[in-house]
């Protein structure tokens, strides 16, 4: 039953770097259509876990099953094209390319003669996504006339003019998400999307994450503190020293003695 609606299955995954066991014997499922929170203190192995799922690192042991297919050891681009996208913890835009081009890169097909749509269709899709994640909204009403979808396809949208450097931290986060969404993922992995954001920005980003779920995408959100995630996620998995400490609804997890102990021990920050 659980295998039926499990979009992603992580099975007994282990990875060590030298003597450091970053992830050890970790298993969990991600259900289709949920927002799953992955919580753990810094160094708990959350980012390593994302790297293992997206093929950046190869696991020492264990398997990653996506939609019933064993994707363990696949190259990153193949995993992305299969439907798993990831937004990096530290935004890494292509600095010499405009915001729109940054998003467009995710739309390029690998087949040289593949039908990637016309340049115009791609530009339109880029604008759609930039609006979708709220990048255009960073500029005031008047300055983003060109972002309207009703335009002639080559509007004077600020995203087409400006380089990522003009974006504030929240904008860079949005760009990371835009780049990930542009690959049209079924499963979206967000690595600490709220770090360094003001409360209002956290609210806005949470709303966007919920909207992405409404679109039929499944999301895994990593954070080191629980509070921001509690109202957003359906389910929480707490990771500690590369192992699963607790799993359940946010309420269940918060009441879990093991988690509370970890909190008291100060290893899980509560801000």
């Amino acid at each position: 039953m659980s295998a039926m609606n499990a979009l992603l299955q992580v099975q007994r995954l282990s990875k060590a770097f030298g003597g450091l066991q970053a992830v050890s014997d970790l298993s969990f499922d991600v259900h289709e259509g949920e927002i799953l929170g992955l919580i753990g203190p810094n160094g708990a192995g959350k980012t390593t876990l994302f790297n293992l799922i997206t093929g950046v690192h190869k696991p020492d042991r264990g398997r990653v099953i996506f939609q019933g297919q064993d994707i363990t050891g696949w190259p990153t681009y193949k995993i992305v094209n299969a439907g798993i996208a990831r937004a990096f913890q530290i935004p890494r835009p292509f600095r010499h390319k405009t915001i729109a081009a940054n998003v467009e890169i995710s739309l390029i097909p690998n087949g040289l003669f593949a039908r990637g749509g016309s340049r115009r269709a791609r530009a339109r899709r880029v604008r759609e996504i930039c609006r979708r994640v709220g990048l255009c909204a960073l500029w005031p009403e008047g300055a983003r006339r060109g972002c309207d979808l009703s335009g002639d396809g080559d509007g004077d949208c600020p995203c087409r003019r400006e380089l990522p450097d003009v974006l504030p931290q929240a904008g860079l986060r949005k760009l990371e998400i835009a780049k990930a969404v542009a690959t049209d993922p079924k499963l979206l992995l967000l690595d600490e999307p709220f770090a360094g954001l003001a409360p209002a920005e956290v609210e806005e980003l949470s709303a966007l994450i919920r909207e992405l779920r409404e679109e039929g995408r499944t999301l895994v959100v990593v954070d080191h503190n629980m509070r921001g995630l509690m109202r957003l996620v359906d389910r929480v998995i707490v990771i500690h020293f590369g192992q699963k400490l607790a799993e359940g609804t946010p309420d269940e997890v918060a009441r879990d003695p093991a988690v509370q102990e970890a909190y008291l021990a100060g290893t899980i920050e509560e801000e």
Partner: protein
């Protein structure tokens, strides 16, 4: 409306009209350069009266320009791989030589149509490029460059050892293929052939870099992991860049054989050719394609003007290239080019920069006001 934002709006509107002017200047400059190159055999004798009395002086300079066009093709091919895909090759003489030797051998043995043989020279070089790409994909930075350098050196020594008994064998594996590999005896016509081939190469490479493939190459160059995360098969795009780049380098070598009538290790396989390819691309500005044309013209014309200085002229030219490499990494012409380009907003320091919303709204208000009062 504050004084500051008024000032800013004025600057903004000026920069906008400047970008339109810049585009016109750029287009005008390109058309002028094209007209000058096309009309060169006619206006050069008018400029240098000595050429009217002595047509051989004109032919000599036309030959210099043919060599410049060949070097431009080589430089542009290098720029696709180095400037766009970020794979710095130190061994482009390998692909130049593959094209040259293929041409020399085929023209002597089969005597097919020259253009067919030139195309085959490019194809053989492309195969060589793909063979180099396979191990090169595992290497990065200086290790990749070193590998291309050693591959070129190995091929150079191989040809010196093989001493192909084709055509009129020369020293150390050289092939003298006249009269088989003669395109035309008309110096003016040969100039136009080389110009046509160079312009065609420029157009094809430029179109490739402006396409989605060019964007993918730049993404792979700037951040390979991020490009992979965007779903791009980095290995495939790098291989493609190797293939296309070596194809055009091979075309350059093939045409060069039809220009000088021989293929010699000391000439086409000389590592100096590899350095020249980099030098002209750097002189003209990496990642511009067209820049290499200017770089090659500059390089070859100065090489000819400095001929009285003997071998010292190369020391002078390469010192100059070194200086430019140190001073302006994007090249002399690249600087000029960038000056004409409509600048995006200046980058801010650090990712934690304050939101631009405030400044953007300020300029926006200002612009609205400017529009409201047409004066």
């Amino acid at each position: 409306m504050s004084h500051r934002s008024r000032l800013r709006s004025r600057l903004r509107s000026r920069s906008r009209s400047r970008s339109r002017t810049a585009r016109l200047v750029k287009l005008g400059g390109a058309l002028l350069a094209l007209a000058l190159l096309l009309g060169l055999p006619y206006w050069l004798p008018l400029l240098v009266p000595a050429m009217q009395q002595n047509p051989f002086l004109l032919y000599k300079w036309l030959n210099v320009l043919v060599a410049a066009n060949v070097l431009a093709i080589l430089g542009m091919s290098w720029d696709l791989l180095g400037g766009y895909a970020g794979q710095i090759s130190f061994g482009h003489s390998l692909f130049l030589g593959l094209g040259a030797y293929t041409t020399a051998i085929l023209s002597v043995l089969y005597g097919w149509n020259p253009w067919l043989i030139i195309a085959l020279g490019g194809l053989v070089a492309a195969v060589g490029g793909l063979l180099v790409a396979a191990p090169a994909l595992r290497l990065h930075g200086p290790y990749l460059s070193l590998m291309t350098l050693v591959a070129a050196l190995a091929f150079d020594r191989l040809m010196r050892w093989l001493k192909p008994e084709v055509g009129i064998p020369g020293a150390e594996g050289a092939i003298l293929c006249v009269p088989h590999c003669v395109l035309t005896l008309d110096a003016v016509l040969k100039y136009y052939y080389s110009l046509g081939l160079m312009l065609l190469t420029a157009l094809l490479l430029w179109a490739l870099t402006r396409s989605r493939v060019g964007l993918a190459l730049e993404a792979v160059r700037d951040d390979e992991a991020a490009a992979q995360a965007a779903g791009l098969n980095a290995a495939k795009y790098k291989t493609l860049a190797f293939g296309v780049s070596s194809f055009f380098a091979g075309i350059a070598g093939a045409f060069y054989v039809y220009h000088i009538g021989s293929a010699a290790p000391a000439d086409v396989l000389n590592l100096q050719r590899s350095v020249e390819a980099i030098a002209v691309a750097v002189l003209g500005g990496m990642g511009t394609i067209f820049g290499a044309i200017g770089g090659a013209l500059f390089f070859k014309v100065f090489e000819e003007l400095l001929r009285p200085a003997g071998t010292l002229r190369f020391a002078l030219l390469f010192s100059l290239a070194l200086l430019i490499l140190l001073l302006v990494r994007s090249g002399a012409l690249g600087r000029l080019w960038a000056g004409l380009r409509p600048r995006p907003s200046p980058p801010r320091e650090g990712a934690e920069a304050p939101p631009t919303v405030a400044s953007a709204s300020e300029t926006e208000e200002a612009e609205v006001e400017v529009k409201a009062k047409p004066s």
